[in-house]
Every structure is written in C-alpha cells, then in structure tokens.
C-alpha cells in the first residue's frame, strides 16, 4: 500500500514545483520595484495605468463578443452535424482544426488582403469594422477549442432522442436549442468560453497587425520597456485566469444533472 502511494506523490510534488516555483519567483520579483523592501508598487503603477484599463477592457469586451458569436456559430452547427449529417463530421472537424495549422500571421495577412480599404468588403477602413474583423478573427482562432468542447458536451447527452421528445411535445427548433440542448451542454460551453477568453486576452499577432488597442500588444510594449511591471502583469493575468476557472467550477456545479457524470 505505502510504496504504491509514494511514487504518485513524488510525481505530483515535482509537477507542482515545476509550475509553482516560477510563479513564486515572478511574484517575488514583481514586489521588488522599491529597492530594499517588498511593495505592491509595480501593481499600483500597472493598475493605475490608463492604458492598462483601456486595453484590458477592450480585450475583455472583444472576448465576450467572440464567445457569443462563437457559441451561436458552433452550437447549432455541432448540433445539426450530430443530428442530421453525421457523415459530414470528419469534414467539419478538419475545418475546425485548420486554425491550429495556419499561423495567425498568415490569417491576418489574408484578412488584410481580402478586406483592405480598396476591396469589395472594406472592413479595415473604419475602427468599428476593424473591431468586427478582429472579433471574427478571434472566433476563428478559438474555433478548434469551442467546437471540441461543444461536440464533447453534445456526445454526452442523447441529442437525437431529446430532440425528438421535445419535438413530439410540440416544441420548435429555437425552443429545442435554447431550452433543451443548450442547458444540457452548459459546462461544456463554459469550458469553451473560458478557453476562448484566455486566447483572446493574450492574443498579440492579429491585434497588433490590425493596429487595435488590445491587451496583447500592451503586454508586449510593457514587457519591452519596463522591468518589474511585466511580472506584475503576468501575476494579474494568472489571477484572472484562475478566477475564470473558479467561476466555471461554480457554474458547472450549478447545472444540476446537466453533466453526464452526475446522471
């Protein structure tokens, strides 16, 4: 008994140290802005920087928009594929994986070529439409994660029979989708949303090349010019990430009966 438990614990401890030591080191470093004492000065500077507030707010907004569009695009698609067109599944899976194979820089150059101000659809001609273009770009980047999460969630429930049960009770497809299907893939949706959020908050290439005031380019700017503040930013980003994870746990629990393991 004893020997069989020591091995896993050593592995776990090593893994935990591997993740925690750099984190602690970064945190410790971020506190040393003032010579000779620990202080939260770097955090005060970062959080007080209007550019931080502006870029973080901008990226958060875009992340939320990306999540909404992503969900509205992916859920009906995955649902329909599962229900009516299972033969198309490999094709759709291949398409959703493309963003992992095509670098963001290639994508964004493609966008700039397709949608420049002299094209048929000049999305880059105004800041507002460029924001839209950036959001769509983010939807593409997040597609593999969102699709996979939703597809897994849908596979865990009997989509076909639930749909038919609702249909025979008189429901039309918006009701079926929003009242029956969506609530039962809520935890899957939340993990998809969380991954999307993490991707959008840290994204640099697209935002920089489309010249939008996002958090990624700001992070890069601070990182290149300051010493202690980037560490503080890293810790803040980490904190936000963990807060998201915590929220997923809370909401995931709240969806009673929706997750397959509780059935």
């Amino acid at each position: 008994m004893k020997t069989s438990k020591i091995g896993p614990w050593i592995a776990f401890t090593l893994g935990a140290l591997y993740f925690i030591i750099p984190l602690i080191a970064t945190f410790e470093f971020s506190l040393r802005l003032k010579r000779g004492e620990y202080s939260f000065e770097a955090y005060r500077i970062v959080l007080g920087d209007p550019r931080f507030q502006a870029t973080f707010g901008y990226s958060t907004l875009l992340a939320l928009a990306t999540i909404v569009i992503g969900v509205l695009l992916v859920v009906p698609t995955a649902y329909w594929i599962q229900l009516r067109l299972p033969k198309l599944r490999p094709v759709v899976e291949f398409i959703t994986l493309l963003p992992l194979v095509i670098p963001a820089i290639v994508l964004v150059f493609g966008y700039l070529k397709m949608y420049n101000s002299s094209s048929l659809l000049p999305l880059t001609s105004s800041p507002w439409s460029t924001n839209l273009l950036l959001t769509f770009g983010y939807v593409t980047l997040a597609l593999p994660y969102m699709y996979r999460a939703v597809d897994t969630g849908l596979r865990a429930i009997d989509v076909r029979t639930l749909t038919e049960a609702a249909e025979s009770l008189g429901a039309k497809w918006p009701t079926i989708l929003f009242k029956v299907i969506l609530p039962n893939v809520r935890s899957a949706l939340l993990s998809g949303a969380f991954l999307t959020f993490a991707i959008v908050i840290g994204e640099f290439t697209m935002a920089a090349l489309l010249d939008r005031p996002a958090f990624g380019p700001y992070l890069q700017l601070i990182g290149a010019n300051r010493a202690y503040e980037p560490s503080a930013l890293a810790i803040i980003a980490f904190f936000v990430t963990w807060a998201c994870m915590g929220l997923i746990q809370v909401f995931g629990r709240g969806a009673r009966g929706a997750s397959p393991e509780t059935r």
Binding site: E167, S168, L169, G170, A171, K179, R256, G257
Partner: protein, 355 residues
C-alpha cells in the same frame, strides 16, 4: 371511419424496404401492439406515425386528418421512448410541464395539470427531483406523464419497458394499461415481448420483415395464428407437416393418419403439403368423451413443470406436445405407454404457408 388509419405504408432506406404493404385501422381508445422480432420494422412504423420518419409511400390519417406530411410538432402525438429521454436539466414537474409551456398555456392551468398527471402516475412527492435522482421505472412513469399531459390524440410507446427489471416491468405494464384505460387514449405499443402484447392489447399486429403478418385480438392471434411465423413467434405450438386429402371437407393426413380441420383449408390442392398447428393446451389424452380427431401414439417424454405436465407423444415421423394440469392424486403417465391423443376439429389450424 376509424380514428387512426394507416394505408399502404411503405418505407425504404436506400434499396432496402423496411416497411411494406402496412395497413391498419384503429378505433378511438383502442390499444394496439406491434409485436415482432428485433429489426422487423416496428420502430420505423411507429416513427412514421409520430412524424420522425417520412413514409416513402402511403398515408396516415388521425381522426380524419391526413398527417402524412406534417412535422412531429404539428401532430399532437405523445411519445414514450425506451431510453426515457427525460430532459436532464429539468425537474420532474418541469419535464411534465414542458409540452404545456410550449403550447403557451398559462401558469394557472399548467400547475394543476402537472399535479393531476403526477397523481395519475403516483409520484406527486417527487415533483422537485431531477431525472438522475429517479429509478428507471420512476423515470419511465414521468416520461408517460409528460407525454399524456398535452392530451395527445394518440399515445405511442416504443418498447418502454425493455430497459427495466422483470419485476418492475410487470407492475409498470399494469400501470400503463390502467392509465390508458382511465384516459381512453388511442395507443400504439411497440414490443418484442409476446407476454406484454398478449396481456395489454385490444389488438395485436404481428410484424415480420416489414409486413403485418396478422392483425387480431390476443385471443385470435394466440389461438388461430394464420402463418407459421405467427404460430412460432407467439407461444408454444406443435407444428406438423400435413398432406391435404380433401380441402372442402378439411381432411388432411398427418404422418399417414387422417384428421379433420374445420378451419381454413380453402384453396388447397389434394396432395399439397401444408403446415398444421396445434396448441399443447388444446390436446387431451385418452379422453373417451372427446369427439373430433383421435390419434394413437406412444409417450416419448414427460416433463413435470409444476402446475402443468407437458407430455410428448410420438407418431412415426412426427410428435405432438400436449399440456395436462397436474393432479396430485394421479401419477403422470410413463414413457413408452401407448396412448390416444384427442383434439377438436376446430383446434387444428392449417397455416397458409407450405411446410
């Protein structure tokens, strides 16, 4: 005109015809079972009535209205699935209320209706539970309540008891039947279990390879099967080859011994070989009073089954099994004993197919 009319229904998947030449007329309030082995097209037929599959040809009418081209949500049918299919995110009460909510009923109407339904299935105390907190039998009862809450014109059940234990299966079978009788709702019940079909139905449609082999009351199906398939699928039956002697007089020879059947030999040619069927419980042993057919043979086997003793009597090439009730004061007969088996002319069923 009947309440539910199915005419010349046909369904093909690719080249393969799954349902063919299917006709049925069911009266209002009737309980009809589709009985047949797995893969014979029961579910497909039921799904066409529900609207989940579109017929390749044929018509379906409910209460005079042609529903063949209607979507499931326009048909007002209640459906109960083998896998229960309760909505996992909703409580029992919310599940039952779903169809009423979709129909836009007011909360003042929905509440009492849900209570009434939960009382009907004897689960009013579980209204706030979630499906995963219920046993299989309870889930299926909720599924039944959900289906009938919307007052459907027709209730469709697809093997609703197949996933349950034998004990619950029998009690739930009686409960479903009681609810159906109380509401007087026209019902189609799909099953591969002959006992279920025989005990619950007003009429049974025995299906084989996409066709309705025979439609009749449980009494007719059990006692007077028309084809070899029906005869062998429903109950235990003696099936013997018989050589037609005189079709008009119903005379036929089993293993050289002439017997008479008063049922369905019409159209048979002398010399033709037909399958004859005989229920074990229709045969008596050494009964001096019995008139009708008598055949002499020897006892080959005696099986004591408790309240029933099953005896096999051999005649040359063929043998007949018969059931006698156990009588504590009489020893069962011995193997090798010479006996006379007796059965009425009306009990000898000559089937339509050749032996």
């Amino acid at each position: 005109m009947s309440f539910l009319v199915i005419e010349a229904l046909r369904k093909t998947f690719g080249q393969h015809a799954v349902v063919e030449h299917f006709d049925l007329a069911a009266e209002r309030g009737e309980f009809v079972s589709f009985l047949g082995p797995s893969g014979c097209g029961k579910t497909t037929t039921l799904r066409m009535v529900a609207g989940f599959e579109t017929p390749t040809a044929g018509r379906i009418r409910i209460d005079g209205r042609d529903v063949t081209g209607l979507r499931p949500n326009q048909r007002n049918v209640g459906m109960v699935f083998q896998s229960y299919a309760l909505f996992p995110n909703m409580t029992v009460a919310q599940n039952v209320a779903f169809g009423l909510k979709v129909a836009g009923r007011s909360a003042a109407e929905i509440g009492p209706r849900v209570d009434e339904m939960l009382k009907l299935i004897k689960l009013p105390h579980l209204a706030e539970r979630y499906p995963y907190q219920l046993s299989g039998g309870q889930q299926q009862r909720v599924a039944l309540a959900r289906a009938i809450a919307i007052k459907p014109q027709i209730l469709l059940l697809d093997e609703p008891l197949s996933a349950l234990d034998a004990k619950i299966r029998i009690s739930l079978r009686e409960e479903i039947k009681a609810v159906q009788r109380t509401l007087g709702i026209t019902t189609i019940y799909v099953t591969h279990d002959q006992e279920e079909a025989l005990s619950m139905s007003d009429r049974i449609v025995v299906m084989n390879e996409g066709k309705a082999e025979q439609i009749g009351t449980p009494f007719e199906i059990y006692n007077y099967p028309r084809t070899r398939f029906v005869a062998s699928f429903v109950g235990t039956l003696n099936l013997l080859p018989g050589k037609v002697i005189d079709a008009a007089a119903g005379r036929i020879a089993i293993d050289g011994r002439e017997v008479v059947s008063s049922r369905g030999l019409a159209g048979a040619q002398p010399g033709e070989i037909r399958t004859v069927a005989l229920r074990p419980e229709a045969v008596t042993l050494n009964d001096p009073r019995a008139d009708g057919n008598r055949m002499e043979g020897t006892i080959e086997d005696v099986a004591f089954l408790g309240s029933v003793v099953r005896i096999r009597v051999r005649f040359g090439e063929s043998s007949i099994s018969l059931d006698t009730f156990n009588n504590p004061s009489v020893q069962p007969p011995e193997r090798g004993q010479a006996v006379t088996v007796c059965f009425a002319h009306a009990d000898l069923q000559v089937l339509q197919d050749a032996a």
